[in-house]
Symmetry: C2
Subunit: 212 residues, 2 copies
């Protein structure tokens, strides 16, 4: 693996663990046991590393969003989709934990992130429409619009809120809880099937929490 890629990997780990504000370019070099000069040969500091990491993230997320609406034929498919999206966010959580300040300080990222938000919005809507078409979901148009926005908010911030309340929460737990909350948003618009799916979700959740 070449140095450029090693820098990106080390940076991602450090940023996720310590937070974006806490890590300097020199810290990343130290963690890799290379010299700051070497790091600056590959990247002009954090200013270039962070956009590079974001591009990796966006590329992977776009693939997830685009593959999402294929073969969506049950409520379970819906929560598997949510699970995958949240896992991807988890892998780049340093970014979501400091959204505003990062978008301020790396201006190239602001338009890109807005574009990604809209792609997420669209994917959420497609999936919900799928559930409507499959007759799992019964909802009028106005409430569908707000349901899309509620979903988007949950995808964007639930992991954050959990990390604030429980530092060092295991990824699995945080993601499970977030999926559960997201699914619950749709439950009142589903009939019996929705409520049953939710119960199943919760049982799974408790099973995963117990062994810890």
């Amino acid at each position: 693996m070449n140095t450029k890629q090693r820098i990106l990997n080390a940076a991602l780990t450090l940023l996720n663990e310590e937070g974006e504000t806490a890590i300097s370019a020199v810290d990343i070099a130290n963690a890799l046991e290379i010299s700051p000069g070497n790091l600056y040969y590959h990247f002009k500091g954090k200013e270039e590393i962070i956009p590079a990491l974001y591009d990796d993230f966006e590329e992977e997320m776009q693939i997830i969003l685009q593959s999402g609406h294929k073969d969506m034929r049950s409520i379970e498919d819906q929560w598997i989709f949510a699970y995958i999206v949240l896992e991807e966010i988890w892998d780049f959580r340093f970014f979501y934990r400091n959204l505003d300040s990062i978008l301020d300080r790396y201006p190239v990222l602001a338009p890109k992130f807005k574009r990604l938000l809209n792609a997420k919005r669209k994917a959420i809507r497609t999936n919900l429409n799928n559930l409507i078409r499959l007759d799992y979901l019964h909802i009028d148009q106005v409430l569908l619009n707000t349901l899309v926005e509620q979903n988007l908010l949950c995808f964007t911030y639930w992991l954050n809120l959990q990390e604030i309340e429980k530092r060092d929460i295991p990824a699995q737990t945080a993601i499970h809880q977030s999926v559960f909350q997201i699914m619950t948003l749709s439950v009142p618009y589903m009939g019996e099937a929705g409520f049953n799916a939710l119960q199943g979700m919760q049982a799974l959740l408790e099973k995963n929490l117990a062994p810890k």
Copy 2:
């Protein structure tokens, strides 16, 4: 007004406008046209200013939360309550915009903020229970728990998400939209009355947006 208070006022304005990471202690001194030495006489830098601002915020918020559940006898009271809470958050929005990084860097604040989250949770639950008692809301216990959490997430992050998507969104607009989203969470558990209240909210929203 004494210098200590003037520093806090100027700091709050600057932090809300420029963001916490962008403002140094010297910036605050410059904005007030006092010397850095003078500022350091009153506060040992941002390290003391930010917790002082937080304490002001928490005190005001606790008063709001405690007065919230008095005289709650209609759905409209509910959204007035949401409005007041969000206005208070807006006044100290620099804090919410960088939650994780601020709680990391000012460790005294983390336990205080968790305590405040729990106070909010409790206030939300009290209000929803009130609506149940008044027979406006019909919901089982499991879903009530998740509804409380959904409300908490909206109160905490809706303003943020809007500011990311529309830089310089007017306070009124952002707060209205957030109230609307929060109320919508309860709508499926209300009957006709809830849907009507929502329609009223939306009409109000559009009226307030139109003149701009």
